[in-house]
């Protein structure tokens, strides 16, 4: 097993960067430099960790880099980190998204604070993905709200205050259920085995409980995660929030924080309460499919690009949920892969929209037209990201959606059939949006749009590379995910998760 120092560094490096940014705030550009340096170190570290990760540690299953320190026994508070094949992908995504957000969506207003909040958000998100303790996860999960709130209100659009408040209240209320669930589970475990209060994932993993209890706890957890993802009908905060947030905020929210929801659903709701899954599955499948169809339909009708991506994300979250709850291994692997791919793809979308918005001062579809004339590179980049999102074979989106759908067809064929319509709809709304924004004649301000600068092109390089590479050669990544998913499935299988 590897030392947990790597994971601790992953959490600490962004915080150090944030501190450095605050210290040098009076010098023009220095805090940005501090932020970018921290982001680079973080990305390198994440990649190193991904390569070091060993999926077969004797005695720990697929968990690596494990370490647990109890901080306060009466509170059940512990610092407990570990990494498995599911979280390793999220770790890389977190580091990558920070990097993209900093480089692609620089905001020079009060730069030190901006960089600091972004780095803090990254640290807290990273810590949530690395938490191997339910209470610790909850604390960091909740904590991500604070930097998100300040990023949205501080640098967002004209209605950002309202949007941020809505976002905060929705998520905070959702977390209330999670909090109660976490505490209840902890005491359930304590009353069962005695000893001090603990929230260790490893310990709670095998708590015995009645079917009814499992259902209630699953629901309590699922509400919080459904709000965060978002899943229909808890999605109403997301379009306005994504639209009003600054570009970096939209990138972080949709590419990263949304994944906290689906990751939590997989790891904590399904992982801890497998008993509840068979009876809740119809409900969850229904919500997933509604998210897919509803998101796709509204995306067709939405007037601006940011909301379009928001609704398209809702549909994608539906796909991920579908993959998680069907219980087939293939679909679950696909869901984890889609979490990563969707992160890269939406980050790409929001970055390009940000570039356009900076020049045109608007992201309303009606204001934009014919941009492929003056800006062919933007058009090309958008095309790649869009095709990946639609699920064109050979690009990353295809692999993950395909895995989810064949897994679903194997276990819940009719749900798969309905979900497939979502894929078609995605092609419709994205191509139509492309048509309106990029094709036709560019007149007025649209003709004066200049094409991507060198730095903007460089920022998009990792996005395009990942889209293409994971589209043609996903095997190394799938090999990392599979053992952990297998382990999870074996744990939940006795409760009839597999049909």
């Amino acid at each position: 097993m590897h030392s947990s120092i790597y994971l601790t560094l992953l959490i600490v490096v962004p915080l150090v960067g944030a501190l450095a940014a605050a210290v040098v705030r009076n010098r023009e550009g220095w805090s940005y430099l501090a932020g970018v340096s921290a982001a680079t170190v973080e990305l390198v570290l994440a990649v190193v960790v991904a390569f070091l990760y060993n999926d077969h540690v004797p005695g720990a299953g697929t968990w690596d880099f494990m370490s647990r320190h109890v901080l306060s026994s009466p509170l059940g508070l512990a610092y407990d980190v570990a990494l498995d094949g599911i979280s390793v992908l999220m770790v890389v995504l977190t580091a990558l998204v920070l990097f993209l957000a900093l480089l692609g969506a620089r905001d020079r207003r009060r730069e030190a604070a901006f960089v600091g909040w972004l780095l803090a958000l990254t640290s807290f998100t990273m810590a949530s993905f690395l938490s191997h303790d339910v209470l610790e996860f909850f604390i960091f999960f909740e904590l991500t709200l604070v930097p998100s709130y300040f990023i949205i209100t501080g640098w967002g659009g004209p209605a950002s205050a309202r949007a941020a408040l809505k976002f905060f209240i929705y998520t905070f209320s959702g977390s209330a259920f999670l909090f109660i669930g976490v505490l209840y589970l902890g005491f359930l475990h304590q009353h069962e085995v005695g000893g001090p209060l603990t929230f260790s994932y490893q310990a709670l993993y095998s708590t015995t409980m009645s079917h009814g209890t499992a259902v209630w706890l699953f629901l309590a957890f699922a509400v919080a995660f459904a709000v965060k993802s978002p899943i229909f009908p808890f999605h109403t905060w997301s379009p306005i929030t994504y639209a009003e947030a600054p570009t970096a905020g939209s990138v972080e929210l949709s590419a990263l924080l949304a994944k906290l929801g689906t990751y939590g659903l997989l790891r904590f709701a399904v992982g801890l309460f497998p008993l509840a899954l068979p009876s809740l599955r119809p409900l969850l499948l229904t919500l997933a499919v509604i998210s897919i169809l509803y998101g796709s339909l509204v995306a067709c009708a939405t007037p601006d690009l940011k909301r379009l991506v928001a609704y398209s994300s809702l549909a994608q979250m539906g796909f991920i949920t579908l993959g998680i709850v069907t219980g087939s291994k293939i679909a679950m692997v696909g869901a984890v892969l889609l979490m990563f791919n969707h992160g890269v793809i939406t980050a790409g979308f929001f970055l390009i929209i940000g570039f356009l918005e900076r020049q045109r001062g608007s992201y309303t579809i009606k204001d934009l037209s014919g941009l492929q004339g003056p800006a062919p590179v933007y058009a090309a980049l958008f095309t790649v990201v869009m095709l990946a999102s639609i699920g064109l074979p050979g690009l990353s989106g295809f692999v993950s959606e395909y895995l989810i759908l064949i897994g679903t067809f194997g276990t819940h064929a009719w749900w798969g059939v309905v979900a497939t319509f979502g894929v078609l709809a995605a092609a419709a709304y994205l191509l139509w949006a492309y048509q309106r924004v990029f094709q036709g004649r560019a007149g007025g301000a649209n003709a004066e749009v200049t094409d991507a600068t060198a730095s903007q092109r460089w920022v998009m390089v990792p996005v395009v590379v990942l889209i293409v590479v994971l589209g043609v050669f996903p095997k190394p990544v799938l090999d990392r995910i599979s053992p952990s998913v297998q382990q999870l499935i074996e744990h939940v299988a006795p409760s009839g998760v597999n049909r």
């Binding site: 306060s72 709200l145 209100t153 205050a161 408040l165 905060f168 209320s173 209330a176 109660i180 902890g186």
Partner: protein, 493 residues
């Protein structure tokens, strides 16, 4: 020689009360004797010294409790246990901070003399007595001593009509509540034959009360008395008006010292004295907690005056403190103790910022006055934002663990639904805290230099202490939580 038998007195136990009364008396006598008026500097110094001395005494009290166990003294009327020591620490720390806030306020408002500090010391001595009292009569004495000082303090700002109005309101309703309380004491005495909590507990534990009407009536009246003092819904109506009218440092006292004293006595009466009747009063308290949490949070949404807003905020917080009372368990007692212990300094520091922003005349309390504060004065604004986030319950602040401890205790006692109501009320309350925070970071509209708030050094110290409490125990709550868990009540059923 025949006469009254003097009960044995363990002086260490009552030393905090003696110090506070002694300091108050010394200041009183000095103001009468010294030819030129006792300056505010001397008064503040005396108060701070008394509070600091009490903190030292508390240390020795803790050692005594740890070595020889909890004990009662003065004919079982006063108790020295870990619980009392923690309560004493909370009160002494709040008095120390409040004295500093009041000092700057007094200098700004040109309040000369030691009157304010004398009253504050006497009033706090009452709170100290409540923390230690093991007898309903002594609790009543503490309650009255605390309240009478406060009635005057609330009306201390003689130039402002709202202050006198608040004073009258608080006095009328407060004395009414005291009357209800003492009537409850009488009924309990009638039902159990004693006012001593341990005797009451013993009586109820060894006898079956066949006709419990008297007992229930007495318990209900006591509950109302306490609910009034901690401003629990539906006995909260006085608090927004009084919070708004009172001089701001006094509002801080009401939100900190009064809450500590009242909650300590509340816990002791219900759990030590009436612990055997747990099943009877718990449903009543359930309703009280739910109403307090929800009303505090939702009515707070409508407030534009920060003092009223903080009044509703503290009603909401009181709901959380009541959660620990509701559990009736050792874990719940420790939770409430931790809550009041950490809430008190933070709320005093919050009111310190409000005092500063209030400006000369102490009336700039509309939320508009906070527009852009964190932009003009980053330290002050960020400190306030941090303390508000703590009261909201954001993780990595002490407020999170305060809520955590009481909620955990509630769930452990089977109150999942109640815990959910409470935490959802916190989500509602988050709206007004965040709106205020947002106001701090809004772009200010010109004339900045004019609106800078003067921050005298002792106030700066208080704010700094608030920030340190929020962050230190937010990052490292372990030792303090453990301490509160060890500080158990004597006569826990």
């Amino acid at each position: 020689m025949t006469g009254v038998a003097i009960p044995s007195i363990h002086y260490l136990a009552i030393l905090p009360v003696l110090i506070f009364f002694g300091a108050a008396l010394a200041l009183l006598v000095a103001s009468a004797l010294v030819k030129s008026k006792v300056t505010i500097n001397w008064a503040t110094a005396t108060t701070v010294a008394a509070a600091a001395a009490t903190l030292v005494v508390a240390f020795f009290q803790w050692r005594c409790v740890a070595n020889t166990g909890a004990s009662t003294t003065v004919a079982h009327a006063v108790v020295l246990d870990g619980f009392a020591v923690v309560g004493t620490v909370a009160i002494a720390a709040s008095v120390l901070l409040t004295a500093l806030v009041a000092h700057d306020w007094a200098v700004r408002e040109r309040v000369a003399g030691a009157d304010f500090h004398i009253l504050a010391l006497a009033s706090s001595a009452g709170a100290l007595l409540m923390v230690q009292a093991n007898d309903l009569i002594v609790i009543f004495l503490g309650l009255e001593i605390m309240s009478i000082g406060l009635y005057v303090l609330v009306g201390f700002d003689r130039g402002r009509a709202t202050s006198s109005e608040a004073s009258l309101k608080y006095f009328l309703l407060g004395s009414f509540a005291s009357a209800i309380f003492i009537y409850g004491v009488a009924l309990i005495y009638g039902a159990t034959g004693s006012t001593d909590l341990s005797s009451i507990s013993y009586f109820l534990g060894s006898n079956v009360v066949l006709r419990p009407g008297l007992l229930y009536a007495g318990g209900a009246l006591l509950l109302i008395g306490f609910a009034f003092k901690v401003a629990a819904v539906p006995f909260h109506l006085w608090s927004p008006d009084v919070y708004e009218g009172a001089p701001t440092p006094v509002t801080g006292v009401m939100a900190s010292i009064v809450k500590v004293g009242a909650f300590a006595a509340f816990l002791r009466v219900l759990i030590s004295g009436l612990g055997t009747q747990l099943d009877t009063w718990r449903p009543v308290l359930w309703v009280l907690v739910a109403a307090t949490c929800l009303v505090g949070a939702s009515v707070g949404l409508l407030q534009r005056n920060v003092k009223r807003l903080l009044a509703y905020s503290s009603i909401n917080q009181a709901g959380f403190m009541l959660l620990g009372v509701w559990t009736g368990s050792a874990r719940g007692v420790a939770g409430t103790l931790f809550f009041v212990l950490t809430y008190a300094p933070v709320v005093v520091a919050t009111f310190c910022v409000v005092t500063l922003v209030g400006g000369a005349g102490d009336d700039a309390h509309a939320i508009d006055h906070y527009r852009g504060l964190a932009r003009r004065q980053p330290w002050l604004g960020n400190a306030l934002a941090l303390m508000l986030l703590s009261q909201l319950g954001a993780p990595l602040t002490v407020g999170f663990y305060a809520k955590y401890t009481v909620l955990a205790a509630t769930i452990d006692s089977g109150g999942g639904a109640l815990a959910l109501i409470a935490i959802l009320s916190a989500a509602i309350a988050a709206v007004f805290y965040l709106r205020w925070v947002l106001w701090l970071y809004a772009d200010s509209d010109g004339d900045d230099a004019h609106r800078r708030v003067a921050v005298p050094s002792s106030s700066a110290f208080v704010v700094a202490v608030g920030v340190v409490v929020v962050l230190l125990f937010g990052l490292w709550p372990g030792p303090l939580v453990t301490w509160c868990q060890h500080a158990t009540l004597l006569f826990l059923p």
